[in-house]
């Protein structure tokens, strides 16, 4: 069944011994006119009559978004960044000779060499719009093994053994979840892929869907086989039109090739996947709200239990996992649970994809083993803080996470240690802030987000986030008193303990973590009427020098 893997990862369309120019066609590079550069490259190739030895291929995300559009010449591995159409001639002419120095990026720099790729192993190496490319990288081999050689409990066991935990944020063991859904009784079960990546500052799922959509479909089909579901839904944000387009294309290809639909791989197993578009509601990342949205209602969560594993979509047992979790499934089935469990730390296995953004030199997408330190991610891979500025904090987990100061830079990144430090793993957004960011303003920014995204069902979240936001606005406006600060802390506690769903329960996290590590900034705003970072417009405005005098 298995196809022979093509050597070197590059199943080039050119003749043997020829060159392939891979250009990133994910959303980041497309916004840097990657499509125009691709056209120009193709024109140059035909102009110079090199069609027999050289071809151009659009691939998925290569990671270093800040240097887009990214180009890799295979098999030499020469990498170019920030190319424009006018550079096409030089690039094409140099494929077999010396690289174009002014555009060349060091492909061996730590940003690339320190990463460990499982989820993103195909990203940037295959054309996401071609099924053949995916098949050449062992694509759908895991699905075929699962349905022809393994029993459903066997698949669940392998996932359990791998120790993988949900990549959506909460970190619930995936194997346990699969086991629960598999044991639930019901004529119809569903598999849902949560691709409603609502965290501002996170774009891992978008990149996976745009770069390797078949990988997600394969993971879902394996899940369907393991838990006994025949229908899957991908709930994806309407804000990601390219991801939606590539998913639709991939579903069509997989159906035609017999990897989705009836009689998958010649067996009785059938599994269909449909896309449901989200419509811009952060709360729909919560699983019960997401289910409500697929059912055509407002995205409003309901109390759990019953958990979706028992009563989910249309009251049937439903398995919900994140995009990145599904993207990990095929390699686990292919290589075994022990292989996956050998990567990472004792309680957090495997790798995690992070979206590195904010005040850091190398912004983009990185995949690192669990247990790596924040310093390695931010300084070795991320290249440190640009413009000679000083590091202040790193924000993980979006509006549900927290801001960690310098003292945590040497902490190992896994679910437990992040939680202990007052943040969360979250879906993987990592925003770096330097001394030009005011931490009170950042807390206010996140609270404004939670306030507008609160669905309004439960009072603690609906009213509490408004009140907390007003107090934070008072502090950043310079009119708050110490009593406001006490009230803020009390509200944090109330909203955290009394809200119905994760959105409300975690909304105080940015406030709590900034209060814990940057209390002096709050004090400066309240007592001295000064914003140390110079961000907030205080009335009356004072400078640090005036306060000191």
């Amino acid at each position: 069944m298995r196809e022979e893997p093509v050597m070197n990862g590059a199943n080039s369309a050119a003749a043997p011994g020829g060159y392939t120019i891979d250009i990133c066609m994910a959303a980041g590079c497309l916004s840097c006119q990657a499509d125009l550069v691709k056209d120009a490259l193709e024109k140059e190739i035909s102009k110079h009559g090199l069609g027999d030895t050289c071809s151009v291929r659009g691939v998925g995300c290569l990671g270093l978004c800040m240097a887009g559009p990214l180009i890799v010449v295979e098999p030499t591995g020469v990498m170019y960044g920030s190319a424009v159409s006018a550079d096409a001639e030089a690039i094409v002419k140099s494929v077999s000779g010396a690289p174009v120095k002014r555009l060349e990026l060091n492909a061996q720099q730590p940003f690339f060499s320190r990463q460990v790729k499982i989820v993103l192993e195909n990203s940037g190496r295959i054309d996401p719009e071609k099924l053949e490319d995916y098949l050449a990288q062992d694509g759908y081999a895991a699905l075929s093994t699962a349905v022809t050689e393994m029993t459903p409990p066997g698949v669940v066991n392998r996932i359990l053994k791998s120790g993988i935990r949900g990549r959506g944020g909460a970190g619930y063991p995936t194997g346990l979840k699969w086991g629960t859904v598999a044991k639930s009784t019901g004529a119809q079960k569903y598999v849902i892929c949560n691709a409603d990546e609502g965290d501002p500052g996170a774009f891992m799922d978008r990149a996976v869907l745009e770069s390797d959509p078949h990988r997600v479909l394969e993971g879902m089909a394996i899940a369907g086989y393991a838990v006994g579901a025949s229908q899957g839904y991908i709930y994806v944000r309407a804000e990601y039109p390219l991801a939606v387009k590539r998913l639709k294309n991939a579903i069509r290809q997989a159906e035609r090739a017999g990897y989705l639909g009836s009689n998958i791989c010649g067996t009785d197993f059938r599994f269909n996947v449909d896309i449901r578009l989200g419509a811009g509601a952060f709360v729909c990342g919560e699983e019960t709200a997401l289910i409500s949205s697929i059912e055509g209602n407002r995205g409003i969560p309901r109390p759990r239990p019953p958990f979706p594993a028992a009563k989910g979509l249309w009251n049937s047992p439903t398995l919900i996992n994140n995009v990145e979790t599904f993207a990990n499934i095929a390699p686990i089935v292919r290589n075994g649970g022990e292989w996956f469990a050998s990567i990472g730390t004792e309680k957090s296995k495997g790798t995690k994809v992070f979206a590195l953004a904010g005040r850091v030199s190398n912004t983009g997408l990185v995949e690192v083993p669990m247990g790596i330190t924040l310093r390695e991610i931010l300084y070795d891979i991320g290249g440190g803080i640009p413009d000679g500025k000083k590091f202040k904090a790193v924000q993980t987990g979006g509006p549900s996470g927290g801001c960690l100061p310098e003292q945590f830079l040497d902490m190992a990144v896994d679910y437990e240690s992040l939680a202990k430090a007052g943040s969360i793993m979250g879906s993987g957004g990592m925003i770096v802030m330097d001394e030009t960011s005011c931490m009170v303003d950042v807390a206010r920014f996140f609270m404004e987000f939670c306030m507008t995204e609160s669905c309004g069902k439960c009072v603690p979240c609906r009213v509490g986030t408004c009140q907390m936001h007003d107090i934070l606005a008072k502090i950043t406006g310079g009119t708050a008193t110490m009593r406001d600060l006490d009230l803020l802390e009390e509200l944090c506690d109330t909203v955290k303990s009394c809200s119905l769903c994760g959105l409300g329960q975690t909304s105080p996290n940015p406030v709590l973590s900034t209060l814990r590590y940057f209390r002096d900034e709050y004090m400066a705003h309240i007592q001295d009427h000064v914003c140390p970072a110079g961000v907030c417009q205080m009335k009356p405005a004072r400078t640090l020098a005036e306060v000191a005098a």
Binding site: A27, G28, L30, S31, C32, C65, M66, G68, Q188, E197, G198, D199, P200, G201, A202, F203, R206, Q231, A238, E239, Y240, R276, L277, G278, A279, G280, A281, F282, S293, I294, E295, G296, N297, R298, G299, W314, N315, S316, A355, L356, A357, G358, R359, T363, G364, L365, Q395, G398, G429, I431, M433, S437, V442, F445, F446, F449, E453, C455
Partner: protein, 188 residues
């Protein structure tokens, strides 16, 4: 909970015969009907249908909400509730050009508020508003996932990364200066 499982439903029910599209000869309604038909006119097709309406017409007006409500046999109150719950849906017509400013964390840290201030200065509108001549609508987005290129804006559907207030102002000034005549873009 109110929705039923599609697999257990029998034949898809046809829409009531007396439900006519607001402007029957407008071909865009065919797209909307096609979406509803694909889902068997079931109530859970509501969000997908509203997406199609917005894609075809640019926004959701009262007539279209009432039509969808009748065709899917969903109370108007619920249709209105869904249309206003989700940020992606807009009940107001958009201008000839749209400028979406990303307000995600990375963009916020890297100067998105300055971009909004620049827009205010250049064309005098806030996020969520359209200029009086109907040329430009300004919107803000939660996060468009282009964090590596922060601050990012979406100009007529094209993502433009590493934007600064000056370039953005120039772009908007260009939009304001040229384009179709005002009367054509003001909706009836």
């Amino acid at each position: 909970m109110q929705s039923r499982q599609p697999a257990l439903e029998g034949k898809p029910s046809a829409p009531s015969p007396n439900v006519a599209a607001p402007v029957a000869d407008d071909k865009r309604w065919k797209l909307v009907n096609a979406t509803m038909r694909r889902h068997g006119y079931q109530s859970h097709a509501l969000i997908e249908t509203l997406h199609t309406v917005q894609e075809a017409f640019g926004y959701l007006d009262d007539d279209s909400l009432r039509y969808v409500s009748a065709a899917l046999k969903v109370p108007y109150s619920k249709v209105y509730g869904v249309a206003t719950f989700y940020h992606f849906f807009t009940l107001k017509p958009q201008g000839e050009h749209t400028c979406v400013v990303c307000m995600g964390t990375a963009c916020y840290i890297k100067g998105a508020p300055a971009l909004l201030a620049g827009i205010r200065e250049a064309i005098g509108v806030e996020s969520g508003q359209t200029t009086d001549n109907g040329r430009v609508s300004v919107l803000s987005a939660r996060c468009i996932g282009s964090c590596g290129l922060a601050p990012a804006v979406v100009l007529d559907g094209e993502v433009a990364g590493r934007m600064n207030a000056k370039d953005l102002k120039d772009r908007l000034a260009g939009w304001m200066a040229s384009g179709r005549a005002v009367e054509e873009v003001v909706p009836q």
